[in-house]
């Protein structure tokens, strides 16, 4: 008898171990409401209080499907990429993309038909990277942008105006640097990650041309990037701050006189500094070129592996196309984003917080100077370029030769995605 009891215990424990793995598919729990098919919707973690409650409220209000919201902290891009390989991933998810490989690999559904009659109401700059060969693969939720914050008082003390050219930015940053305060904060990596292609656009170039070639095969590119090295060499850059560029802490704590950050930081900056700050686009990096600001949009996409294709698409259409009141609430009530719908963003009443002061300047930059990373600028190209930019800034590598090797890699990558779509 003892033996059979032991056997029972041992096999029971083994079974328990096995069944303990893999039951949490994320299909239930979270907010729920309504009847009909069950849909799982994923968001990345927004920092602002109230956002999670808001998106759960929207999901509850939908009555044609039982939508459960999952709020996912951590490396969101990696999580969704892995989840899209399986059936237990989300049905509807927020994505900073989708990437070209996700579209070409058939991982997301074509959402073009949802845009019937409203396509012109979406900001064309952020709609472009969601479009591949005329089809649209995600509905832009909100527009985010990055820009330069500066302390008006510190600039006035030094007798300087907000920089209009990259040379001026270099000089101003050098002048504002003291023993305690650095001139400029472009991120703890010296700017390679946060700036990305912005200096190239500010030099009148682009990352990828419309016909799918690398758009920075030009001596102006190397000249623009060399100025970033000057900033580093002058020791004008703040490096190793406790929080990175996306957080305005370094700026509001007075560690730096100017900081590159996102529009999302504006309420925090305004609260801390009152009206002692201004915003600017990334200054022109070549004669005759215009300043540039990067804009981008998280979009709502539908996984191709969802069991309820029609229901998932209907939900996306309901929330991100029909319900403009929720879209307004999502963009402006918690964080600080520009609504993706032109009818909302341009309406002085509906988008009141965006109509005055630095926020109004920012909105103007986003329409006049905005660029979005093209869809064909794939992660592989981005890594090659960012590595080169980091070597130029920090190690003083020769910009021309670094860019030549980037061009080689980017051309190969562009040829690969072109072949795949053919």
């Amino acid at each position: 008898m003892t033996i059979s009891r032991r056997a029972l215990l041992a096999s029971g424990a083994a079974l328990g171990l096995l069944t303990a793995c893999g039951s949490n598919t994320g299909r239930d729990g979270g907010g729920s409401g309504g009847s009909g098919p069950k849909l799982a919707q994923w968001y990345h973690q927004y920092g602002e209080a109230g956002t999670e409650e808001a998106v759960k409220r929207y999901a509850d209000a939908y009555d044609k499907a039982d939508v459960s919201v999952q709020w996912r902290p951590g490396n969101y891009d990696e999580q969704t990429a892995a989840a899209l390989l399986t059936k237990s991933g989300p049905d509807v998810f927020e994505v900073n993309g989708p990437t070209l490989d996700q579209i070409q690999g058939g991982q997301v559904l074509d959402l073009t038909d949802l845009f019937d009659g409203v396509k012109d109401d979406f900001n064309p700059v952020v709609l472009a990277p969601k479009t591949h060969e005329g089809r649209i693969w995600a509905v832009p939720q909100v527009v985010d942008m990055q820009l330069l914050y500066y302390r008006k008082s510190l600039l006035a003390d030094a007798g300087r105006k907000p920089p209009a050219t990259l040379e001026e930015l270099v000089d101003t940053a050098r002048e504002l640097t003291t023993k305690k305060v650095k001139g400029l904060f472009l991120g703890n990596d010296g700017g390679a990650g946060a700036l990305g292609g912005t200096p190239l656009y500010a030099a009148g170039l682009r990352l990828v041309t419309d016909d799918g070639k690398a758009g920075f095969d030009d001596p102006a590119a190397a000249r623009a990037l060399a100025h970033l090295r000057e900033l580093y060499e002058d020791k004008s850059l703040l490096l190793g701050a406790p929080s990175d560029w996306s957080d305005p802490s370094a700026f509001v704590q007075g560690l730096t006189a100017m900081q590159w950050s996102g529009l999302w930081a504006l309420p925090a900056v305004e609260k801390a500094l009152g009206d002692d700050f201004g915003v600017a686009a990334f200054p022109a990096a070549a004669p005759g070129a215009r300043p540039a600001v990067p804009v981008g949009a998280f979009g709502a996409a539908v996984s191709a592996r969802t069991a309820h294709k029609r229901a998932a698409k209907d939900f996306v259409k309901w929330l991100w196309i029909d319900r403009t009141d929720y879209q307004r609430d999502f963009a402006l009530s918690y964080g600080f984003h520009i609504p993706a719908r032109l009818s909302l963003a341009k309406d002085p009443e509906k988008a009141a917080p965006l109509s005055k002061g630095p926020a109004a300047d920012a909105v103007r930059f986003s329409t006049e100077n905005g660029y979005a990373e093209p869809l064909r600028w794939t992660p592989a190209s981005r890594v090659a370029y960012q590595d080169a930019l980091s070597r130029i800034i920090k190690s003083g590598a020769n910009p021309s030769s670094e860019l030549r090797s980037v061009l080689r890699k980017v051309s190969a990558e562009l040829a690969r995605v072109k072949k795949k779509s053919a």
Binding site: I3, L85, G105, G187, G240, S246, V383, K394
Partner: protein, 315 residues
């Protein structure tokens, strides 16, 4: 009650169960682990080798066979070869420093007459700390780049400028941060291994040496202690090298940011993580890199084991 009387069993069952059910019990205890090993190690390993021969962007069931294409492009990729160099440099730093530090700690603790248990625990405690937590403390409070970071405050007393420890490539201060965090975390663990080795050395050897006129200190260390610690040393060095190969946590947590990872101090695992599991999701290329890395680790470990004569009979 006897189990045999409650249930009639055929001779086949008897033979399978073995004498006194020994075979049965072997599988009851080993089976779950063997199953886990197959499901979570061997199957993914085989799958990874399979993927490495395909163009597998964003898929684990690829159809586009590319032969050795992924391997050649990985070997031609200077980012990958640089990451191997990063690993070599890191190993060259961390293995000797940890070896020396943990050996000296062990020698000192071993000589302490009072409160030996206290010192042993104090030096061992960091081993219980997570790499992620330690890396974040190193990054945010000790070695941050602003004037109120601990290291910069100390430098400030001497009038030195603030240094951005993790962002400076010339001189490469980031190595200081990376090596010290690992040193702090693992020295105590290897100290324990050395202590065990030291306590195994028979006191009669030291007495005999003293009678023969060996001066205490260097001479005894060189001719008695170190040769007696040979087995321990071999194990420690092997473990150190393997751990260095697996380095990921502290590198990733010290140097990565929301936009990726800088091109310096990027060990192979971090590079492959970004290639295969980052937004790129190039699982074919990443698998090829992982297979190459596994081959290198195998060759190095076998070479090391032969060189040290691991498994040979001690004389």
């Amino acid at each position: 009650m006897n189990a045999d009387t409650t249930r009639p069993r055929g001779s086949l069952w008897r033979r399978l169960a073995g004498p006194q059910n020994r075979t049965l019990w072997f599988w009851v205890f080993v089976g779950p682990f063997a199953l886990g090993l197959i499901a979570f190690t061997y199957v993914p390993l085989g799958w990874s080798v399979y993927l490495s021969f395909f163009d597998a962007h964003n898929t684990v069931s690829p159809t586009d066979f590319v032969g050795f294409g992924n391997y050649t492009s990985m070997l031609r990729n200077d980012a990958f070869t640089d990451s191997l160099w990063t690993f070599v440099v890191f190993t060259a730093f961390i293995v000797p420093t940890t070896y020396l530090l943990s050996l000296s700690l062990a020698l000192m603790v071993n000589r302490v007459r009072r409160a030996q248990a206290f010192f042993r625990s104090v030096f061992f405690l960091p081993a219980a700390c997570s790499y992620v937590v330690a890396a974040l403390i190193w990054k945010m409070s000790i070695f941050n780049g602003v004037r109120f970071g601990l290291a910069n405050t100390v430098l400030g007393w001497f009038g030195a400028d603030q240094t951005a420890w993790l962002s400076t490539t010339d001189p490469p201060w980031y190595w200081l941060v990376i090596v010290t965090v690992r040193l702090w975390l693992q020295a105590g663990f290897y100290m324990i291994l050395f202590l065990a080795g030291l306590q195994r050395i028979s006191p009669t050897l030291y007495e005999a040496a003293a009678v023969d006129g060996a001066r205490p200190g260097w001479q005894v260390l060189r001719h008695i202690t170190l040769p007696q610690l040979r087995a321990t040393s071999v194990a420690v060095v092997l473990l150190l090298v393997i751990n260095a190969f697996q380095a990921f946590d502290e590198f990733y947590n010290l140097l990565s940011d929301s936009r990726g990872y800088p091109p310096y101090a990027r060990p192979p695992l971090v590079y492959l993580y970004y290639t295969a599991l980052g937004q790129g999701q190039n699982l074919g290329l990443g698998s090829a890199g992982a297979v190459l890395l596994a081959l290198i680790i195998a060759v190095v470990t076998i070479g090391q084991a032969r060189w040290f004569g691991l498994g040979r009979k001690e004389d």
